[in-house]
């Protein structure tokens, strides 16, 4: 078992204080005798898991959530550069499509999900805000994605997710392409995920990768390659 509790605590404290530069220094120091990927796996990922729990418990400010996302993004970039041309970099990444549903412009959660999915090794196609059902499905088909992640902050915009389910049904893709849904309203009323046609949701953005993995496996079981 790795004993790096002090490093994790220091990184967590720095994130909570909004000290992005300090977090980067701490992670650089940890990576110096190991690697950036090790720093991600052994330090930042466990910290992000804790951050996710705090977010779910509403014990994390927007600024702290933002900083957590930015330091993950910083470290991802370093991993990307360090592993350029290596086997790890060249390994085929699994494509997924994400975006905020039509009429929804609350991008912070989606951006965090994008960073955490990338850090878990997914190839993320982020379509941005105000994305129509057709745009989601067409992009998933184009990129061979078996999971679409749709974000909505409010009930009214979450209702628009039904259109993505309808479009998947219309193109006979339900089963093959799974629909992950997330956003503030689903945290408060998780039953809404099924009501709008979602195949699953996660308690917070930090758990998105686990959800996507589960849905990807379900898709492969239902419609094998």
């Amino acid at each position: 078992m790795i004993n790096n509790e002090q490093e994790k605590k220091s990184v967590m404290d720095a994130i909570l204080k909004g000290e992005r530069d300090l977090v980067n220094t701490l992670l650089d120091d940890y990576a110096a005798s190991r690697s950036y990927r090790t720093a991600m796996n052994e330090v930042l990922e466990p910290v992000l898991e804790e951050i996710g729990s705090r977010w779910t418990e509403e014990n994390l400010s927007l600024a702290q959530g933002y900083i957590a996302g930015k330091v993950a993004e910083d470290l991802l970039m370093k991993i990307h550069n360090a592993e350029k041309d290596t086997a790890a970099k060249q390994a085929a990444k699994v494509p997924v499509v994400i975006g905020n549903i039509e009429d929804d412009y609350h991008s912070l959660g989606r951006k965090l999900v994008s960073v955490f999915l990338q850090s878990a090794g997914w190839q993320v196609y982020d379509l941005g805000n105000d994305v129509t059902a057709e745009e989601f499905v067409d992009k998933a088909v184009e990129k061979g994605a078996r999971v679409i992640g749709v974000s909505a902050m409010m009930y009214t915009t979450a209702e628009n997710i039904r259109k993505v389910r309808d479009e998947l049904d219309r193109q006979n893709l339900s089963g093959k392409i799974k629909l992950a849904v997330g956003g503030a309203v689903f945290k408060l009323r998780p039953e809404l995920a099924a009501e709008v046609g979602g195949d699953g949701t996660a308690a917070n953005g930090f758990q998105a990768s686990q959800l996507f993995e589960k849905l990807w496996e379900e898709s492969l079981r239902e419609v094998p390659l």
């Binding site: 909004g18 933002y66 009429d103 409010m154 009930y155 009214t156």
Partner: protein
């Protein structure tokens, strides 16, 4: 158009605007406003709205809120409740098209009530005590800062200057009337008028 049997349950962000409509005799009902910061705590907002409605089980409630808590939809479906159309306060004040255009332009919108307490909002509620982090956040997510002048108070020039300096971005001023808000209120009140007619 309105009467005292109706209670306008509104977000505090609209307080100055509905008081202005009331002074102009365009809105004549009981007014209850809740703390606008509940926007950040939707579950608590749901509780608070429920508490107000439970206190007046026979009242009619004109709800001046966007889609700000998870069960607003069910709440507005009740016979004695009618909500103005709009997904949030900016949509309700600006109207659908203008609101959508500002969102597409990635504008952050400052309404008068939040503007007066902007430091409290950004530091205490959102945690942006560090100006550098606040600037990075705002620049990454928004291209424009827009203060919406609803005409209910003088444009707070000094405050707007402070906001601009804090975020390192210019603040545009958009002047609007209360016509769209009033139209939304009147549309919502028609639900009660229809019910009253059916009861006769």
């Amino acid at each position: 158009m309105t009467d005292k049997k109706i209670t306008c349950l509104a977000c505090g962000v609209f307080r100055m605007e509905i008081e202005a409509l009331s002074r102009q005799d365009k809105l004549d009902c009981n007014i209850i406003t809740l703390e606008s910061m509940l926007h950040m705590k939707p579950a608590r907002l749901e509780e608070e709205m429920g508490r107000v409605m439970e206190a007046g089980p026979n009242d009619k409630f004109l709800v001046l809120y966007g889609d700000c808590q998870p069960r607003m939809h069910e709440m507005q479906a009740r016979e004695n409740v009618s909500k103005v159309t709009g997904i949030n306060c900016c949509d309700i004040l600006l109207g659908r098209e203008a609101y959508r255009n500002l969102q597409k332009d990635q504008a952050f919108i400052f309404l008068p009530e939040w503007t007066l307490r902007w430091r409290e909002v950004f530091t205490n509620e959102l945690g942006f005590e560090n100006q550098e982090v606040a600037q990075a956040f705002m620049r990454e997510h928004r291209k424009r800062l827009v203060y919406v002048d609803t005409g209910v108070m003088p444009v707070p020039d000094k405050t707007i200057q402070d906001i601009s300096e804090f975020f390192g971005m210019p603040v545009e001023i958009l002047h609007i009337s209360l016509d769209i808000l009033l139209q939304g209120i009147n549309n919502a009140l028609r639900k009660f008028a229809r019910h009253d007619q059916n009861d006769k």
